[in-house]
Subunit: 218 residues, 3 copies
Amino acid sequence: MLATGIDDAASVVQQIGEMIGVVAFAASGALAAVRRNLDIVGIVFLAVSTALGGGVIRDVLAGNTPPTAFTDFTLIAAASATGLVIFFWHPPARLTHWPLEVTDAIGLGLFVVTGTAVGYDWGVSAPSAALLGLTTGVGGGIIRDVLSGRVPAILRTDEPLYAIPAFCGAVLTATLMHFDWYRAWIGLLCALAVIAFRLLALRYRWHGPRPYYVSRDE
Amino acid sequence: MLATGIDDAASVVQQIGEMIGVVAFAASGALAAVRRNLDIVGIVFLAVSTALGGGVIRDVLAGNTPPTAFTDFTLIAAASATGLVIFFWHPPARLTHWPLEVTDAIGLGLFVVTGTAVGYDWGVSAPSAALLGLTTGVGGGIIRDVLSGRVPAILRTDEPLYAIPAFCGAVLTATLMHFDWYRAWIGLLCALAVIAFRLLALRYRWHGPRPYYVSRDE
Amino acid sequence: MLATGIDDAASVVQQIGEMIGVVAFAASGALAAVRRNLDIVGIVFLAVSTALGGGVIRDVLAGNTPPTAFTDFTLIAAASATGLVIFFWHPPARLTHWPLEVTDAIGLGLFVVTGTAVGYDWGVSAPSAALLGLTTGVGGGIIRDVLSGRVPAILRTDEPLYAIPAFCGAVLTATLMHFDWYRAWIGLLCALAVIAFRLLALRYRWHGPRPYYVSRDE
């Protein structure tokens, strides 16, 4: 009974978390589209691809087909609506930088945690669940960037830490689930930690070390 | 018996439609390769990836593995043969623009309709089938463009309407199937409507609305 | 008993071959990352994506989910370790050209052969197995190049033969398996033949024929 209660609460938070993640990633996709001066169709398409891409990859990798995004239309409706809101709000392209980074960080944090939790619930081992969560989190952003002809953030020179916050969040969530310490609000805290880590990395320009000869040249 | 007759006819038209779609997309891929001055191997490779990519994505999303393209070799043979024909016809790169657009539109129209019909026949709901059809239709072109280092048409600034004709075709086909009004020749008409819509959008440069500040700048 | 012995030996060689392929592709990904001046995280991420990407695509296409790369962590550990070794060895970016080409060729040869063998063992037909092997072999490199914002080698103008060696290796392996002539050491010879073919093509700049009007211009 207790377990069920936890499951239910976890499931609700899971759904809310996924929904916020979808909206955040959709906003980041729509903002990237505005930046590239696309019309309303391009904005909605990039919003939907970014928001649902990570989850579709996760579902395909886990053999959960057709993916949730193709059967549960609340997600695609939320993503399309977000794209339309960005379209009507019409921010000037030069003002899209920070909103794009912040929404991307929020989507990353929530998807890494919910992706790991969903993976673990499907019965894969904790490290597999962490990998699935990591893929879910970074997948949407990679799809957005590849479709817009940009190198993904995770592989951009001079981009502050992106994969490390995601990796830490996935490992932390998987560890908590493995030892059965995972609770709904703890998952939310994990997501917040990932978001804060990524935004601090952006703000203070934290970088990983580069190969020695490069530092020497600088 | 009637239902079977319809199924058979639908299935034949389905197969013919898919074959024409494969040949058209293969031609568009091969023309894109000619434009980039690739050799015969690149031409055939891009022809095959473009022609089969959408269907492979559809099959993977629907859990139909291994995808038809990996087991039914008529499709890959048709795509390779189309690539070879384009190679021996050797159009000058500057003449590839309209043939590329026209073959791409034909492939788009046929794949959207057959993709939706295949999806619906697998038992997913009508909206899911429309989404699968849309993904099938735009998937091949996206693969072609991403592999050639180009931004996909669907996300190119100043590209006339691309996703909207595909979306209308998918919704129309799914609606027809849902109310059991779908017949073989109606599917063909849907595909023709999508093709005509896309070509008219290209010819008269129909665009979706862009965010307000952009129009203001013009 | 004999069959079992052969199976066991084949399976060991299969595993060793896959491991060498993973390390080689990981090195090629890490070198591509060094060339783009990425930090340690980017290097490891590109190493892992390149090394495991082909196998993940193969597994998803064959319906073997979750893919081996998400459940067997020796592969990901080997790929990450290779990335770290390249990071600490820190070759100057200008010296990464040949190592990148050679490790890519080694990965290609081994993945084409092991991919075909794995596919055939799953019970698909010989031509399907060859296609799966080809996809596995070229998939990792395509992921590496698309993620780094580069046109894949297979579609680069002026790139010497890449797909042809892979194609020959896949067809040869599938033929050998079909007639039950495949042995562990023969698979290794096939992989070596692919590697040698690709490296010779690179060294002597073998190209496929291009459309006639292009040759005329030269």
